[in-house]
Amino acid sequence: MNRRAVIRNLALVIGSATLLPSCLKNGGTPVVALKHLNINADQEDLIGDVCETIIPKTNTPGAKDLNVHLFVLKMLDDCYTKKDQKTIVSGLVEFDNMVQKRYNQSFGNLNEKDRVAVLTGIEESAKKQNKAKAPAGRNTKPQKTVDANPLFAFYWAVKQQTLFGYTTSQYFMTKQIVYELVPGRYNAHFPVKNLKQA
């Protein structure tokens, strides 16, 4: 664990704050000081790659640009029970092995098309088995119980927190939709077309 840099300034994971030089590890990727979740740097990277595949960089920023992957790690670290964390981590291992076996390389080295195929494959089979509901709503709580199937548990947890992190990010709330801390008024007939930022 001690090979990983420690981030003292949690502001890093809660916004688009500038990265502190001391928080960079060899590859230049910031890592979060995890207190509860027992994963290594490669596994952290894998989670980041899954986040980025869910919310990719297009003509607008992706999950990694917005440090959503760090938020996901923080939520996985702080907001899940030990038991759920164990399930999620074993799902992470299963995910990694599955990808290695199928593609003979790691998820991070796959092209985007293959990454998307891997994730949608999991999502579809999970939905088909009705094993878990897709993470729904703008929920401030983690799912009450994570899926018993480790692979699904891993995927849903990362997806849910990615969406939660992305849609509550400063970027999304100020650049994608209209958000005001002090609206000052209630317009009960607000047209949807005015909802997005121009």
Binding site: V116, G137, T168, P183, H189, V192
Partner: protein, 559 residues
């Protein structure tokens, strides 16, 4: 006058304590307000009120550490990252659950007036008559007409926004302009009217959020962050409303960190001469003296103080002569309702975050209807659109999915019931002397539960919710019905009830303890029944009425 002598002592600084302090000081009484917890200064101490959602490390969520530290609070919505400091430290202040009881407390200046739900409804005539009519508990010693002028008085000062709906079951008040219903709620209201005529009603909530500037307070800014404390003072709280009024008189002293451990009873005068205070910071004990004592420590803590004020004359506590002190624990039972999707209105949204919803007043067991239970229930709810991170059926990940997240989801409509709980003598709290809090004081043990009447009512609450949503055109309706544990309504009532007879009640019709008539209890402890409306407005009115009476009686040297 010695340094520790005042005209009046007010125990507690929440909704009713703040009102007692305001009324007593405005009538010229030198008053000390004793608050067991820390001070929270208006605006300055609302540390999270101006944060954006992304500034919270877990975006407002709950961590495992919080869940471990707050084993009671975690049972429902109050446990969250944004206002954790406003909730009681459960390790310092434990209690015993003989039966499960969800007790959500706030120990600081302002009490739960900072975190309350703000829905403000008058009771109706029939609510005060119900006990006598049904032969349940004791008859209320007051009627609607006794409280009516005080309701108006409280509303005008607190600032209640609402619509004058003209319903006898939910009397109109002195309202500020109502908040708007959104397009879906307006549609539901119209369908309601068409379907139920006037037998059931769907109205905008009446809330203690001001919609016009009021005294030094700014009107609601539609942030919907009320429970963080409002920097605009736009909702009624001790800090925004009653405290500044009381301070302006020059007659008020506020003393935080002051745990009142007992009321000092003088057996010769048969009155209280003051209170004993344990300083929560220094553990020093002090006595304060006054001609009149208002007990507003929050329902169960008010009863705790009375119970802990045992003397050789009253071994079970002050006000215990009837045997009803600590009994008749009540709350509204909730956690029953339904929700579903509303089709259409895709081009409409709303702007601003309205700190209010809609209300469906009671309609059961009225006009001669007789269900297999007595009394009734109301619903709160609202229409809204699903958020950005909903599940999108055709897409699960990727760039198009990311873009689709900026579109709002389907409209949904939700209603949740609030049911009346009857007073049962065996629903009780007692002092448990084997368990001590951080200060070595005995704690409360709760032994209360909903019974047959409430359980039968909950069946209607669930079925009616489904039926009404269906009548309103809502689709994919799902209903729910939880376990109905008491406490989580946070509408704590009973344990020192008012009545007409000292043999069966703790307080008289003016909220005076029968056994010590210069002691007034004007918070939820005084309630003889619960009705189904949110109770805080009634505490405000009752407190102002009792304070007025106290001053009149002092002038006449009657107390």
């Amino acid at each position: 006058m010695s340094a520790n002598t005042y005209d009046a002592i007010v125990i507690g600084s929440g909704i009713s304590g703040g009102w007692a302090a305001k009324e007593l000081t405005e009538k010229g009484l030198k008053t000390i307000m004793l608050e067991r917890g820390r001070n929270i200064e208006h605006i300055k101490d609302y540390v999270n009120a101006n944060k954006d959602p992304w500034e919270f490390p877990h975006r407002g969520g709950r961590t495992q550490e919080m869940i471990k530290d707050y084993p009671v609070l975690k049972r429902d919505y109050p446990l969250n990252e944004t206002n954790l400091d406003y909730w009681v430290n459960e390790k310092e202040s434990p209690y015993v659950e003989t039966k499960r009881f969800d007790w959500f407390r706030g120990y600081h200046v302002g009490g739960r007036s900072l975190m309350w739900g703000r829905q403000s409804y008058r009771w109706a005539e029939l609510d005060f008559e119900a006990n006598a009519k049904d032969g349940i508990g004791v008859d209320w010693p007051i009627r609607y007409k006794d409280l009516e002028p005080w309701y108006g008085y409280a509303e005008k000062f607190a600032g209640i926004s609402g619509n004058r709906d003209g319903l006898s079951i939910l009397p109109d008040g002195e309202f500020m302009p109502p908040m708007d219903m959104n397009v879906v709620e307006k549609d539901v209201a119209k369908r309601f009217k068409d379907f139920y005529k006037d037998s059931r009603n769907f109205v905008i909530g009446r809330t203690a959020n001001i919609t016009q500037p009021h005294y030094a307070r700014t009107n609601c800014q539609y942030r919907n962050k009320c429970w963080l404390g409002c920097p605009f003072g736009a909702y009624f709280s001790t800090q925004s409303s009653t405290l500044p009024a009381a301070m302006a008189t020059g007659n008020l002293t506020v003393r935080p960190w002051s745990i009142v451990t007992k009321i000092l009873y003088d057996k010769d005068t048969k009155k209280a001469k003051g209170v004993e205070v344990l300083d929560a910071e220094t553990n020093q004990t002090y006595e304060f003296y006054a001609k009149v004592v208002f007990v507003n420590a929050s329902t169960f803590n008010s009863a705790w103080i009375l119970m802990n004020s045992a003397t050789d004359i009253w071994p079970d506590g002050l006000g215990s002569s009837s045997g009803e002190l600590g009994h008749n624990v009540m709350d509204h039972h909730l956690g029953v309702g339904a929700f579903g999707k509303v089709e259409g209105f895709e081009d409409k949204y709303y702007f601003g975050r309205r700190a209010n919803g809609i209300y469906i007043p009671r309609y059961r067991n009225l006009n001669g209807e007789k269900r297999d239970y007595i009394r009734g229930f109301g619903y709160q709810g609202g229409g809204s659109r699903e958020g950005w991170s909903r599940d999108i059926a055709e897409m699960s990940i990727g760039g198009d999915f990311k873009d689709a997240l900026t579109e709002p989801g389907a409209w949904t409509m939700h209603i949740g019931g609030f049911g009346e709980t009857l007073p049962y003598h065996d629903n009780k709290i007692t002092l448990d002397k084997n368990v001590k809090d951080k200060w070595g004081l005995p704690v409360l043990a709760f032994d209360a539960e909903i019974k047959d009447n409430e359980k039968k009512m909950r069946i209607d609450m669930e079925n009616d919710a489904k039926e009404m949503l269906a009548a309103a055109g809502v689709k994919n309706i799902q209903s729910y019905s939880g376990n109905g544990f008491l406490g989580r309504g946070i509408h704590e009532m009973g344990t020192a009830r008012m009545g007409r007879d000292p043999k069966t009640s703790v307080l008289n019709g003016w909220n005076q303890v029968w056994d010590a008539q210069n002691v007034f209890v004007t918070d939820g402890a005084a309630m003889a029944s619960t009705a189904c409306q949110n109770p805080s407005l009634t505490y405000m009115a009752m407190t102002a009425r009792a304070a007025n009476h106290a001053v009149e009686e002092l002038k006449k040297n009657n107390i």
